[in-house]
Amino acid sequence: MSAVLTTDALELHHDTPRGALRAVDGISLTIDKGETLGLVGESGCGKSTLARCIVGIQQPTGGQLEIEGVRPGKGRAMRLERARNVQMIFQDPSGALNPRLTVERIITEPLQVAGIGSRASRKEAVLEIAKKVGLSAYHLERMPHELSGGQRQRVSIARALVLNPNLLVCDEAVSALDVSVQAQVLNLLLDLQKELGLSYLFISHDLAVVRYISDRIAVMYLGRIVELGRAEDVWAGRLHPYTQALVNAIPDEAARTEDAPILEGDVPSPVNPPSGCPFRTRCPHARAACAETRPELRLVGTHEVACHFAEEIGAQVAAGH
């Protein structure tokens, strides 16, 4: 399988008066063709910043980024090239559409900017993609405020897909929708993936949604990945205390483990992160060693975890069952 996206130790540090803010702090991951990688974490952990680096609206300050094996550059031609490979859909379906343009115009814009096709062929392409996402010619003439939240999100998806990208970054794409509509949009995304061979980077704070849609899951904490593996491995065999806490935070979850920690306090400041393991300030298993060295991602059992005591915690979980 060929990788659509590869990042290697990707970093984005903002300069602040109190020191560097490590929004993204060394993220290495790959997304294969046709694969969905789910990215979970609390707000402020750097998920969206990572997404913005991948689509090119923020520039990483360190590390490598390759899209379809090419390192994207800054020039206009490179920007357009990148746009044809990676697109993004956003959380708030009303803010993501220009309120003064018709739906047709909104979906046509990417083609126009890229200079693809004639006026007539663009019209055709727009109608075709609109049908694929479940909109009709009727919707194309409407203004965004005349549509429902779910329909607006479909417009966003159509706009993102009209350039035939290989990778779609979905930043909390269903979080603002009603639960019933959420399911529709998720299923639409799954259908489109099958039909078009798309890859997704699916970002959400909702572990249950991510589990449903993802092939693999990456759990992010304070700019770093703390657990990474196949969706069911991470879900069922979760080893990092942070992942356990996230699952435990889901109300009414049958899979919940009895002694798993409930998260307390806030995410520490990414300007001055704790020494050693960044999670140790909220971790029930924290010991002296955690403050000394930072755990790197390593293979433990079925998948990768960044915790010094992953084996021990795994044994405890196994004993508990």
Binding site: R52, V55, G56, I57, R76, R79, L80, R82, A83, V86, Q87, M88, F90, Q91, D92, G95, A96, L97, N98, P99, R100, E109, P110, V113, A114, S156, R159, L163
Partner: protein, 279 residues
């Protein structure tokens, strides 16, 4: 869109009154040459004829025997022209400065906003007087002098709106598809902040008319054109004996400025989608 806006304006009470008054002033400026072919400067009758004293001069004559009705008709041309063109120049400069500062941020924003601040710290009217005093009084320089003190207000207004809008996802999305910055600013962002700009524009025109009249009143008007300020200036010397010479152009000014303010109020209501039901 413009047509429906106009219709909604007509349905708004203060919009209707404002538009009617403005139409009256506009009609005056359009018919001036046809009704008074001799121009505003000819001595048409005896000097200092009070309004009504001579049926040929319903508003009287000034100290040189010039018909005040003709003066007011011709003056409306200058007032409207200076008002609209000064506001136009201020809008163009203010929108460009504000949009560029708000969109790009950083040092661009800092530089442009310090320049804007510099203009705003100088009392507006004094600056206009100084400019006209230095480069001389003509319609062009007066328009320039009014515009140069008016644009900072527009720039600040536009900047604030662009700052808000540039964080919207639809702007981010345009960046992702590779749209150029200029196109994002002018095609995507600015159409979304037209409402406050349009409302301010009407007030800007009114303000420009007042400033032009004030300059002329102080003797800094273009000596070659008859504006309402020119009549005010003539009337100033006769204030004790013939106050009507001052009162006539003053009423014209009040009516015009009021009509523009009424239109501004109405536009504010009409363009505010949340108040749409109220009208």
């Amino acid at each position: 869109m413009t047509l429906t806006l106009f219709r909604r304006l007509l349905r708004h009470p203060s919009g209707l009154v404002g538009l009617l008054l403005l139409a009256l002033v506009l009609a005056m400026s359009l018919t001036a040459g046809w009704l008074f072919p001799d121009g505003p400067w000819t001595m048409a009758g005896p000097p200092r004829a009070w309004p009504g004293a001579d049926p040929r001069f319903p508003l009287g004559t000034d100290s040189f025997g010039r018909d005040l009705v003709a003066s007011i008709f011709y003056g409306s041309r200058i007032s409207l022209m200076v008002g609209v063109s000064a506001a136009g120049v201020a809008l163009v400069v203010g929108i460009i400065v504000g949009a560029v500062a708000g969109y790009f941020g950083g040092w661009v924003d800092d530089t442009l906003m310090r320049i804007t601040d510099a203009f705003q710290t100088i009392p507006n009217f004094l600056l206009s007087i100084a400019i006209v005093g230095i480069i001389g009084a003509s319609i062009g320089t007066i328009t320039f002098a009014i515009a140069i003190v008016a644009w900072p207000m527009i720039a600040r207004l536009v900047r604030a709106d662009v700052l808000r809008l540039r964080t919207y996802d639809f702007v981010q999305s345009c960046k992702i598809i590779g749209m150029s910055d200029l196109r994002i600013i002018f095609q995507q962002i600015l159409p979304n902040c037209m409402a406050p700009i349009i409302v301010t524009a009407s007030v800007l025109v009114a303000n420009a008319i007042v400033v032009e009249a004030s300059l002329a009143f102080l003797g800094l008007g273009d000596p070659n054109v008859m504006s309402w300020g020119t009549v005010l200036n003539i009337g100033r010397q006769e204030l004790r004996s013939g106050w009507y010479i001052t009162a006539v152009p003053a009423v014209a000014l009040v009516v015009t400025v009021m009509s523009l303010n009424l239109i501004g109020d109405a536009l504010n209501d009409v363009l505010n989608p949340r108040l749409k039901e109220r009208t």
